[in-house]
Amino acid sequence: MFKRQGQFYPQGGSKCIEVEVHLHEAGELRLVNESENLDILQDLKDCHINPKLGDIPRELSLPNAGLLSIAACTELDVWLAGSSGASIDKLERSSWLILTSVLLVPLLLYGLFKYAIPYAAIIFADAVPDAAVSVASQQTLKTLERTVLDPSKIDQAEQQALMDYWQTVLAQMPSTDKQFNILFRDSSRLGANAFALPDGTIVFTDQLVELFESDRALLTSVLLHEIGHVEYQHSMRLIAETLVATVALSYFFGDVSSLLEFFGGVSNTILQNQFTQDLEWEADNFALSHLEQVGLSNQAFADAMTKLAEKIGEQSQMDSILQSHPLMQERIQNALEANQKKR
């Protein structure tokens, strides 16, 4: 038997009585305060014990009587542990587990964002019904046409010639269930650019056609890159990745705090750029592996990238640094290397 000072809060109010607590070997405790005429005998079995945590006082709920709080100490912990068994507290005090956590937490987070989430995103992209994809794409196109895209100013005959050529190119591609719908739009805002919507709509800007001087080989290598985006369902994957990453971040670190919002913002930016860059590489390699099939060389892709790189160099610096494409030089190198391998 040993004694401790405790604070006893009788149920039903904010009163507190200082008590002497007698803790008996048999798992019985007795609360005594003579001046308050208090003497309670209680079996520990019937009490609810709040799990041990750090060095905060140990709390016991006495059924229908009140709450008892006693400063934490080893002797008391041992006495209480007799009835509660294993505890998470032991893990929180284990030096090796703490050390392991410090190493494992970053590793696991890295693995989660680098592999698990992109993998889950592929599954998600496959699961989205085509009708939904089509609705989403048309909505996006409408929004873009209202804001940054204007009707093309390219000569109608030239457009038709390109279209006819691309029909033969597409016919040479491996069969696919996607319908590609190629459009030309004028956009001073986007500059020399091309993008693909998930339903197979591919938009070239007049500025890109001008930059490539209507060179079919160069334009086709960009087309193949965009087809790569569509074939791999990149838009849907990006959406899924961003969504899951956002939820995961707020879930793991989400004890609301303005600092965390900042942290989340930064990691989202990095993550999204990372995701996007991975997707760009995939689209590049798709284009590179199909160029020969349509009777073109990888040199065309490298040339297209070189021209774009020069153009970006001229553009305002703000524009270029906010782009998410991988390093142009690396992409050109990648194209040339693929070229050499084939020879």
Binding site: Q7, G12, S14, H48, A136, I239, F262, N273, L322, Q323
Partner: protein
Amino acid sequence: MSNMDESIPDYKHYSLAELLEAKSTIDKEAFPERLAIIEQCIAQFDTHSAAQQNASENAPPAKALRSVPVRFLGNGREFFNIWIVNLLLTIATLGIYSAWATVRNNRYLYSNVEIDGHRMSYLATPKQILIGRAIGVLLFASYYVLSVLSPLLSGLLLLLLFALTPMLVCMSIRFRMRMTGYRNVRFGFTVRYGRAFVVFVLYTLLALITFGILYPLLFKKIDEFIYENMTYGDAEFETDLSTGEYFLATIAAGVIAGVVIALLFGVSIGAGAAAFSSADDAKPISQFFIIGMLLLYMIALAISSSFYKALIRNHIFTNTQIRNVARFDSKVSVMGLIYLRLTNLALLVCTLGFGMPWIKVRSARFFARATTVEVLPGYEEVIASAEESANAIGDEVSSVFDVDVAIG
């Protein structure tokens, strides 16, 4: 004048203020027996006033028994161990354990707050947290997916959420209050949906219509709504906030934010122009640039929001009391808070997030130190129904409405 000696004024029907005035002005030598009656009446008033809550407006402020500091007793190292192990378990279980982790983290932070020799307690159960999280994630995910598929439907959902905001906010506040205990009594929140609708929807619209000029009024109405409806057992909170203070704090914070952003932006553009002179090098720098911009933005936000937070916290604390239980005082210094926020930000960035436990502990200690509580005579007489007793085992008490829907 002549009958003054004979007729004794009807002190029994005097108000307390009148009695006190009579006591101080009466000629004590000449009318000792009247003085006795007055004192008797005052004494009766004192015992009555404890029971009659309406009388408190006329009654002078209750005399504080003692003024006590708020102390935070946790330490960063101990909290780090708890936090990191729980984080590992959370990740290893793909997030499911996070509800248990939240409870342990919060229990540590709450139970290390000591006021007048007693600890605060965090009373939520993991199950309650889990349900709230699940609903929150579901809502967020469905909104995100809808926003991609159909702007119209997502707009409707957003509108629905806006209309439901008052209810969700009330539930959230109620949950947080009910999960906080002190001296075995739970805090609480009296939900008034009608009033919540007026505050969160109508005043928000009003603020929007007036191009934001009335935002300070909205902030004041929100705080007033929260603090007026808080309870501690059967004791109610009273608050008396001034709209002027909110206008002052908001305008000052806005001006400071503008100045800081202008200064930082000027510096960063100069640095940016110098750094990105060659296009080839631009890519690897781009991420740093974006992070840099975010950091600058955060610094500006930290400085201006510290100003607002310090002013408004001090204002709310000094003007809020739990009737006959406690009065509060807060002396947060603006410079101290800016220093805390900026060092926390540096700590977070330099440790890549691993400094979070120290940040929480430092912040808790800072706000505890700035706070004093005046203990009023009724502090031991707060009554808590079976539901309001903190020791009642969670599951039996928690109703389905005790859910904190975690949005965003």
